[in-house]
Amino acid sequence: MIGALGQVTFQQWRAHRLRTLLTIIGISLGVAVLFAVRTANVTLLSSLTLTVEKLAGKATLQVVGDEGGFPESVCETVKDVPGVHVAQPVIEVLANTAFADEGTLLIVGVDMLGDRELREYQFDEEGSEIADPLVALAQPDSILVSRTFADKYDLEDGDKLPLYTSQGRREFVVRGIFKPEGIGKVFDGQIAVMDVFNAQYVFNRGRNIDRIDLMNEADVDVDQLAKRIRAAIPGGIEVTPPTARGEGIEKAVSAMRIGMLIASFIALLVGVFIIFNTFNIAVNQRWKEIGVLRAIGVERRNVQLMFLAESVMMGMIGSLLGIALGYLLAVGAERLMSEVAAKIFSYVATQQPPVFRWDYAITSFALGTVTSLIGAWLPSRAATNLDPALALHNIETRQREAVLGRGRLLLGLALIATGLLCVAFAPLRVSLDYQFVYPLLMLSGLILVLPKMAELVARILRPFLDRLFGTEAVLAVESMIQSPRRTTATVGALMIGLSFVFSTASYVQSYQRTVSQWMGRFINADLIISTSEMARSRTYHFSEELGRQIAAIPGIKRVENVRFLFMPYAEDSIAVVSFEMDGWFARVNDPIDVGDSNEARQQLLAGKGILASRNLTTRYGLSIGDTITLQTPTRPFQLPIVGIIDDYTSEKGSIFFDRKLYLDYWRDSSVDMIDVNLEDSLRQDPAGAVLVRDRIQQVLRGQHRAFIYTNTEYRKWVLDLIDGFFVINYMQTAVAVVIAALGIVNTLIISVTERRREIGVLRAVGGLRRQIGRMVLLEATIMAIVGVISGTLAGMMNTLFLVRTAASMVGGFTLPFHFPISLIIIALPLTILVSLLAAWWPARKAVNLNVVDAIGYE
């Protein structure tokens, strides 16, 4: 019997090729996005770890400090620890060349005398006149580059390589080219090696280094050695195997990775609706076939099995295609993520082909197949419950589908209410994994009330559309109302796709608004000079000397140096921001949100206290008077909180204190940002800031790589950065909308097929072809309108969750709810346009229907 039923199914596939194809594409796109993101995630981590491993060479342990580094004297201490075979200081800087494209280059500063024991440099001897390139590094202008980099810029031994350093533009001489192997493969070959002491000088590291790479003696246990070293060196400096550093990187980029993974599940969720719709309609369309099968003795369970087996087949085909497509997409996704990781986190990835993980392929395959099965479950049950006698009747004898039971409606409303209450009142202690249930509750509730909502909206629209478009509109509305399942499935897919577009956009806008208000309050310098086109660079800094040069430029009243770094704190990290607080206090109006302003000001200026961000105090349960302790290169930094401010510098929490303290504790004079304040006369002049910016640019041109912004430009730039961070999420939600659009095509094709007889009758009683076409297009339009309305509601609920619960969990702060009306105003015509495009083919199909066949169609 199964074979016979399989034959029936395949005949259906053949007869409805387009519908089958669209359904499979819907599943495969969902699976593809999921698989691509997971593959890109794992590839990114592998690429980042590969960088660490390749850079580590043969090192078995690494001694690493915070972003500010630690004194080079620690290296001598480590070398003296029994069991250490070799220990070498390292500095890593992501700098830029002074070539026209200002390309990024990873510069590794090593001690040329001992480093060969740790790292193998396979020098490209061809054409080289240098006897020992590592020895040549002893000359202060020496640099070694990879063959890939040399070829890119047409460099040979002895050629000059201009670089932007903390001391300004410096010309180095290429004194060795290593093969694109081992260390030469790191960061796609955009790598150079220079002397560590030279690097200290040109990159303003003072007497600090970033890390120590070491090897143990052959007979010494690595773990034991690590313990010994820990005991010998100051606190706050970690001793870890190189492989463990990957975990730290993984943690740093985790927010980006989790965000993308969530967005990718949405695409798959939208796929469920497409499957549901396809099978719902298939059951409706094959009403009579089911009746015949039942009449000739096919049992209920076999009818259900037939539909479920069909869904599994579609799911399997769609999933396989999705995995193949996803693998290809992963290349692009990983590249995008690598760029974000390099730009925002300053972590460089070493390019490699996407990592194909069988476990991911199997889970994606299983998810795609199970998704199909879930989507087909209810329709297949409907098929089994079909009364064969009724099914064998004509179409008009069928009962109108029950729109919505009261029970379902109440359950839906209850779920929505529960979700909203949880978002509003649930404690933050609950893990984020559980908190994700809230939007699911609200979404499930909305799906349950959707048929009623769709009916209500359609009924409200009916008289207006009737007046505008006549009877075609009425027929379109009625078609929707009378087939609530079909309508709900399509509108539901659209709702979910749009809701995530809306909520992502409104979350970003809420965040931008808040950050904008915050910047208006705290960012009050007239000009801001930054090291990186992103907010800051983890490895490249300015020197104080640059600040002094800028201060000498006419029109500038005062220059303030800002240092910004992340420090380990309570198993995580926090942002540590130090700057000259007297100037800031002079300009900012009552900055303290919690605490006595005058007292706080005195304490801060005296270097006896710190300011803490509200999200830090919320996260760690801190209040005024509590002490924050950090391990610094000199001694423990231990100061009380004297004021709390609403601050959005970092989602991990931030502290602020005077720069004098930083210089004292960290012995690091690096600068990440320079705040420039103008003479009063120029401040009054709207063009004053631009004028001085141009003057600074003239001084820096060709000497320093710096990004100079006026206050307004800086704020806009930060807001654009936020947008840039979410770009991949936007792309994923766009895929969800594409899948939803496929759902519309599918639904309308099915709707046209299902209503073939009705369309035939319309033509028979005098409906013109264009009127029929218009009817199909109007149905698509109304579905788009209902989709936007329900998507807006769902989007608002998701946004509420994001700005309250998710933001609190991730960043320790809530954001004001902001749902931009402009978004809906843009989305409505766009969605209608997408729907109309999706409806074009079904409308043509309807218009060209053979009337005689259609009337006889059953």
Binding site: E396, T397, V474, V761, L762
Partner: protein, 230 residues
């Protein structure tokens, strides 16, 4: 006055192996005549009806409806002709299940661009005329077979067309209900004097007509005047 005129009309289907559904039909039906078309299955009755209403086109010959050669009309003009000058009723009623009785009957008027405000009172009047005054807001699935056919008749006659085509109008009804429908058609013919072309198997229905055309294998084999027996 001629309402329907078929001159050497043929209709065949298929590709290389053609099957002739109708061959060289020559037939003239006058205004106000009530003509029954009978024949066994496959004799070409449905094809004949589809050609007359312009849903199908002949492979040869000319069809004139109320003096208009429908072969030279484009699709839109044929559709308008069908909408305004030809009423059609079917064995399976072919009502739109999602619309109420008023909306179903007003449909041709609305498709003609008439506003709801104007169209619906006319539909109500027509529904009352066919005896469905108490079923105005019912949907087809809320009505009996006879009532559905009445609704279909009301829709067919909403423009008071000069030609009514009926394809087995009593085929899905019990004999008593069938008789009632035929009585209704009789009554409406008396009021509107339209030409009725009735394709049927029902011997009872023949007595309602004053002419009988018999088809076999796509040809007219008999065309005789009848004494109306009702």
């Amino acid at each position: 006055m001629r309402m329907i005129e078929l001159v050497d009309v043929s209709r065949s289907y298929g590709g290389l192996t053609k099957v002739a559904a109708l061959s060289n039909i020559n037939l003239t039906i006058g205004a106000g005549e009530r003509v029954a078309v009978m024949g066994p299955s496959g004799s070409g009755k449905s094809t004949f009806l589809n050609l007359v209403c312009g849903l199908d086109q002949p492979t040869a010959g000319t069809i004139l409806i109320d003096g208009v050669d429908i072969g030279i009309l484009d699709d839109d003009s044929r559709t308008r002709l069908r909408r305004e000058r030809i009423g059609m009723i079917f064995q399976t009623f072919n009502l739109l299940p999602t619309l109420t009785a008023i909306e179903n009957v007003a449909l041709p008027l609305r498709l003609n661009g008439m506003s709801r405000r104007v169209a619906e009172p006319r539909a109500v009047a027509m529904l009352k005329r066919v005896g469905l005054g108490g079923r105005l807001d019912h949907r087809p699935d809320q009505l009996s077979g006879g009532e559905r056919q009445r609704m279909a008749i009301a829709r067919a006659l909403i423009f008071e067309p000069p030609l009514l085509l009926a394809d087995e109008p009593t085929g899905n009804l019990d004999s008593q209900t069938g008789d009632e429908i035929l009585d209704l058609l009789d009554q409406l013919h008396g009021e509107l004097n339209m030409t009725i072309l009735l394709v049927t198997h029902n011997e009872e229905a023949i007595r309602f007509c004053d002419r009988l055309v018999r088809l076999r294998d796509g040809r007219v084999v008999n065309d005789e005047k009848m004494e109306r027996g009702r």
